[in-house]
């Protein structure tokens, strides 16, 4: 069963692009700055969960994923699913920068009529491979996309970013079972393991550790990296098994909730959802920008 032949787009961003580590680090901080700016305009948003995965988004979008921003429905593109949909505010500037939609859209983020909502809507925004918002669904959706790729003979990868609190959802483990049962080596889960969920430390609410052991017991290849070390992330993604291999991979990215700004690192729960005062905003921006002078 093969999918319909679709011409390769003129411009394809291939896997393993030689973006420098310095540039990937700079991009991650730029995602933080844009997040602060967009939340400031909208009046509310998720800072610290976005900050914890800024390096992951940077490495995926500026190095790892095979993308065709001019042809967002190109069937052979790699898929990216933002399981932790509440950090869409960090994805919007990336998609705009890559040319999926006009940068001007960013200015309407969170406003009535804007396609850019707090959680991503695949029907509203080019470049969003699937909607999210209800935690625990997207790994299952990723299993479906990986199965479809197999049936259609396409070599794309499907990458699903989940939070660590999200792993408390039972459906995630149904999906984990299905992925190894159906031998989906074309499926990659990335856990932004920042150690916190909405109301406190993840494993105080419900222990999810030892994560690597649990994933391996479910038939996955599991590895652990420092989720703020762009070099380590790039290395882990560069060495993914080929898409026609038979064991799904989970990269557990150990991260810090609120990473990159002293105030949000100190009180990650307070900045899970909120809006900085102008003074706090300016101080946070100054702290990030000082790293790049």
């Amino acid at each position: 069963m093969s999918g319909a032949a679709v011409a390769r787009p003129e411009t394809v961003l291939e896997r393993g692009r030689p973006t420098s580590l310095e540039e990937l680090r700079r991009r991650a901080d730029w995602i933080r700055l844009e997040t602060i700016r967009l939340i400031d305009r909208a009046g509310l948003g998720h800072y610290s969960s976005t900050f914890s995965c800024a390096e992951i988004l940077s490495v995926l979008y500026y190095r790892v994923l095979r993308l065709a921003p001019g042809c967002p429905q190109w069937p052979d593109r790699d898929r990216f699913l933002l399981g932790k949909g509440h950090v869409a505010v960090g994805l919007w500037p990336v998609l705009a920068d890559l040319g999926y939609f006009p940068r001007g859209w960013l200015e309407g983020y969170g406003r009535l009529g804007s396609p850019l909502t707090d959680h991503p809507n695949m029907r509203a925004v080019p470049g969003v491979d699937f909607s999210s918002g209800s935690l625990g669904h997207n790994l299952s959706v990723g299993v479906g996309m990986a199965l479809a790729g197999r049936l259609q003979g396409r070599a794309y990868r499907t990458v699903v970013l989940t939070g660590d609190g999200e792993l408390q959802e039972g459906q995630v483990w149904e999906a984990a079972m299905a992925a190894s049962h159906h031998r989906l080596g074309n499926l990659v889960a990335v856990v932004d393991a920042n150690g916190f969920s909405g109301s406190g430390p993840t494993s105080e609410a419900m222990n999810i550790e030892p994560l690597l052991v649990r994933l391996e017991a479910f038939g996955w290849r599991a590895l652990e990296v420092d989720g703020h070390d762009v070099g380590a992330l790039a290395e882990a993604f560069d060495h993914l098994p080929p898409a026609d291999s038979e064991v799904p991979t989970c990269i557990v990215a150990r991260t810090r909730k609120g990473k990159g700004v002293t105030m949000t690192e100190a009180e990650p729960q307070r900045w899970h959802l909120g809006c900085m005062t102008p003074e706090q905003r300016d101080a946070a921006v100054a702290e990030i920008e000082a790293r790049w002078r």
Binding site: N121, N138, V141, L147, T158, A178
Partner: protein, 324 residues
């Protein structure tokens, strides 16, 4: 305490029973679609026995996901987002009530062409306990935006409705009645969103869905002998709803009885009442279904008899409605 006789029932996990069952239409039609089209896949949450022919002939197009209904729905959504048309075959009692959020968020909200085929709806598994009754599903399904809700009333309408909706760009929920009386000698043509006038009449209208249609036709025959002419409408589509047919029935016959194997709250009767009220149609309405109470547990035929979802039960309700 009187105990009824042990009736014949389908063993849903037996391939022999599945082949022998009166309701084979789902498996046969899905097999035909898989053989005709390259984009149809069938997903099962441990419903393999129903699909044994498909599983043997096209194993790559049959995807088993085990007893994990919610995961199955989201997996189907992912496949649909990649250009496939997935049919999820599930047991009614563990269908929409268990997967409502996945259906809403992953399937209906993004308007993906997933087909959710709920076999064994209503009281079809009534023998196994109240956990196995599926009598809330119309209420849930109708309130999910973008979801088309279809309820075949016999084998041929099952085939016809599955076939005629294959190209529908959004999601479809099929509520499959089991062991229903034959209504259509040939597969009917049912335009999207339309009721079918199964029988004309001017004294009253029975609007029925699923196996209620067969009971309504039987009731109309009984009442004909008494000089009462009953119009019978097959509510094959529960959403979109054929509002024009409801208004006509109310205006032309003055009395409507709805019949469904579903809780009287939130089902076909509720939908018809909303339409009559909105259009200010001054017709009498009675809703015949399952009471909003703890239901009895027994073989389906015994339950249908008990709750009056039979020709004689429907005929009695029509007489009461006309006498009111």
């Amino acid at each position: 305490m009187s105990v009824g006789p042990a009736p014949e029932m389908e063993n849903v996990f037996s391939e022999q029973d599945a082949r022998r069952a009166r309701q084979r239409a789902v498996g046969e039609e899905l097999l035909r679609l898989v053989e005709e089209r390259g984009d149809v896949v069938v997903l099962s949450a441990d419903m393999g026995a129903v699909m044994s022919d498909l599983r043997q002939r096209h194993p790559e197009r049959y995807i088993e996901l085990g007893i994990a209904e919610t995961n199955t729905v989201s997996v189907a959504a992912g496949m649909a987002a990649c250009g496939l048309i997935p049919y999820v075959v599930s047991m009614g009692p563990f269908g929409i009530i268990k997967c409502a959020e996945q259906l809403r968020s992953d399937v209906a909200y993004p308007r993906l062409p997933v087909r959710f085929v709920a076999r064994l709806s209503g009281l079809a598994m009534g023998f196994f306990g109240t956990t196995h009754h599926a009598v809330e599903d119309i209420a849930i399904a109708r309130s999910i935006t973008n979801l088309t809700v279809v309820a075949p009333c016999d084998e041929r309408s099952t085939q016809a409705l599955i076939r005629s909706t294959v190209e529908h760009p959004g999601p479809v929920f099929y509520r499959i009645s089991e062991g229903a009386d034959e209504v259509y000698p040939d597969p009917p043509e049912i335009p999207p969103g339309s009721f079918v006038t199964v029988r004309e009449g001017r004294d009253a209208t029975v609007i029925a869905t699923g196996l209620g249609v067969g009971a309504a036709v039987g009731a109309a025959r009984l009442l004909e002998a008494e000089g009462i002419e009953v119009r019978v409408l097959d509510a094959a589509y529960l959403k979109p709803l054929d509002e024009a047919a409801i208004v006509r029935a109310g205006s032309e016959t003055g009395a409507i009885l709805t019949v469904e194997e579903h809780n009287v709250i939130g089902g076909l009767g509720t939908a018809v009442a909303e339409v009559l009220a909105r259009h200010r149609v001054p017709a009498r309405l009675a809703i015949h279904g399952l009471p909003d109470a703890d239901l009895e547990v027994a073989a389906p035929a015994a339950l249908l008899e008990h709750y009056g979802l039979t020709s004689t039960g429907v005929a009695a309700r029509v007489r009461r409605l006309l006498a009111a």
